[in-house]
């Protein structure tokens, strides 16, 4: 088997960053997220490879929060397209967790299937290589397994690393792209047989089975009122979620020039469903709260066969009012049928 010694990490990153934009899980000041290797300052920033995960998900790399679409000029009625900003820069995300790889899978499903391909997403995604850091120590809010994925395996990860402590990382090339990259850096890998680490069990038992079906009849259930009482519809949960993919398209013009861009949006916001005539079908915070959970746990599953939650636990850790998706699932399951 191939081993990557930990003292080779710097060499590896330096090599990878020659031909691609490389992102590493890093604590930068007060924030943790996937930041570009080029911007890292070793004296100030801390690598988070040995932490469970980072606060800000890698979604921003394939679906930037603000993404330029095209620029134009116009004279009266006539509009000229100036530039289309598809971005095929080669990118490598190093040290992703399985929940985040799976969430990129879900984004693929949304942006590639059902008869429509989002070209902006495609140009980024097809040129992004994913290096998974397998989880052996799930955190207290982790429930990926319950959402149908393995913390140590993934079909979409191009390379999978298994942290074997002092011995280094076991390096597994998992896709064609991954094998190609491995070929280029083979000289820094070692050939040695070591044993895989022992995984620790999950601390919390979560069972998603039957939740989607259960929620089907719960749209008008009174339980949504007390459940949503604390929620301030701040939207943090949807912005940190690696799966939430909602965006809005906006335009800026100055004289005869302008550009169109898209930016993340969230169903937690009142403006999200505001219609041109002034009607808002989701007027209250409760309706928006309900939508978030129904979309993740019911609608998405009905449409694509899997939930729009990969169990990363971020929304649980960041919610300023203590809303917890696991608790929502448990409460939904506990509701009397046809109530």
């Amino acid at each position: 088997m191939k081993i990557l010694k930990k003292n080779q990490l710097d060499t590896l990153w330096e090599r990878l960053a020659r031909n691609a934009e490389l992102y590493l899980p890093t604590q930068k000041g007060d924030q943790s997220g996937f930041f570009s290797y080029k911007t890292l300052k070793p004296e100030k920033d801390t690598l988070m490879l040995d932490a469970l995960n980072v606060y800000l998900s890698p979604k921003n790399i394939v679906l930037p929060q603000t993404e330029m679409m095209y620029s134009f000029t116009h004279q009266g009625q006539e509009i000229n397209l100036e530039e289309v900003y598809e971005d095929p820069t080669p990118r490598i995300i190093f040290g992703l967790r399985s929940c985040d790889v799976k969430s990129i899978d879900r984004l693929d499903t949304v942006f590639f299937t059902r008869g429509f391909v989002d070209e902006y997403y495609r140009s980024r995604r097809e040129n992004t290589l994913l290096i998974l850091n397998a989880c052996y120590h799930p955190g207290p809010n982790c429930f990926c397994e319950a959402m149908g994925l393995s913390p140590r395996e993934s079909e979409s990860a191009d390379i999978i690393l298994h942290d074997a402590g002092e011995e280094g990382y076991i390096w597994v090339a998992n896709t064609e792209k991954g094998r190609e990259l491995t070929g280029n850096i083979e000289d820094i890998l070692e050939e040695k047989e070591i044993s895989y680490p022992q995984p620790r069990p999950f601390t919390r038992e979560v069972d998603y089975t039957g939740v989607a079906e259960k929620l089907k009849d719960m749209f008008s259930h009174p339980i949504w009122h007390p459940l949503s009482d604390p929620c301030i519809n701040c939207g943090i949960c949807t912005y940190v979620c690696p799966n939430c993919y909602c965006f809005d398209i906006q335009v800026k013009t100055r004289g005869e020039e302008g550009y169109r861009y898209r930016c993340w949006d969230s169903c937690m916001y009142g403006e999200y469903t505001m219609m041109a005539g002034g009607h808002n079908p989701r007027e209250t915070g409760m309706e928006r709260f309900r939508n978030r959970f129904l979309h993740k746990l019911e609608f998405f599953t009905e449409r694509y066969g899997e939930p729009l939650c990969t169990g990363c636990g971020r929304c649980i850790a960041v919610c300023p009012t203590g809303i917890n998706i696991i608790e929502i699932m448990e409460k939904a399951k506990g509701v009397e049928p046809s109530a």
């Binding site: 604590q27 000041g29 007060d30 924030q31 943790s32 801390t46 988070m48 040995d50 932490a51 469970l52 995960n53 980072v54 606060y55 800000l56 929060q65 603000t66 120590h137 955190g139 207290p140 809010n141 982790c142 007390p226 009482d229 604390p230 301030i232 519809n233 701040c234 939207g235 943090i236 912005y239 940190v240 809005d248 906006q250 800026k252 861009y261 930016c263 969230s266 916001y269 009142g270 403006e271 505001m274 915070g285 636990g313 971020r314 649980i316 850790a317 960041v318 300023p320 009012t321 203590g322 809303i323 917890n324 696991i326 608790e327």
Partner: protein
Amino acid sequence: MKDMTDQVKEIATKLLESGQVDVFMAWEKGDAPHQSKPFFARNVADVEKIIFDEYCIHNLSTYLTRFRDGKEKIAIVVKGCDSRGVVRMLEDHQMKRDRLHIIGINCPGMKDPLEAMKQHSGFERETGEKGLAIKCLQCMQPNPVIYDESLGEIQEPHFKGERFTEVKALEAMSSEERYQFFSEVLSTCIRCYACRQVCVACNCRTCIFDEAKPQWVGRETSVGDNFMYHIVRAFHMAGRCIECGECERVCPVNIPLMLINRKLIKDVDHYFGPYDAGMAYVEGGKPPLSLYKIDDPDDFI
């Protein structure tokens, strides 16, 4: 604080049972031991869930906007900072005094459940017990300024020292340095608007940032649009921020919002004061920048 919980429950039972109030706003235990969450009891059976412990950090006065169009009588549990929020709501005519029954708790200081969650989530490399929340260490008013009944011993503020040290350091910078500073800190804002959602001064029915026709502030997460957001937000806080520190606490990317707020507090106090927002409720009273006089000495309007 077990007996505090019991006292709050006792009051809640009394008020809900007698029908004196329809809603009792307090906290219940969250999913994790270091988590408490806002809870609205609507009947006596709900009362058993109520708690008051060191994680009841949320400023419940913000939630009063939910009830502003109704007729319900509301009991609300407030700490010192939150009570100033209630004054904010009253001054802004978002709530009538006679619809409220205010239970003031002289606050010993709270811990931040968000910090604790982060510590325990595995997203942080250094773990260990955190003490009081930053906002509590900076608190000037732990004892409620308005209440119908109060609980607990009068508390000394945790804040010692010079109140505007950081603001003064900011003022001492050259404008280039300041621009550099703000470009750096504001560029990471993800524009989730959580700071607005949690803010008791942000009680407008339609927020300027949600207006689409015209759109006053662009939605790009660029330095330009982020500056615009923070400048407009700052202006709207002048004379209105009650220093509960909730915006800074909930910000997922730690933008130093209280630094901006304190600069405004200092300026309002200096130019229009002495003034500290929400320190006392006077019926018909108006905060400095909520008042228009025909003989205003400034002619810029």
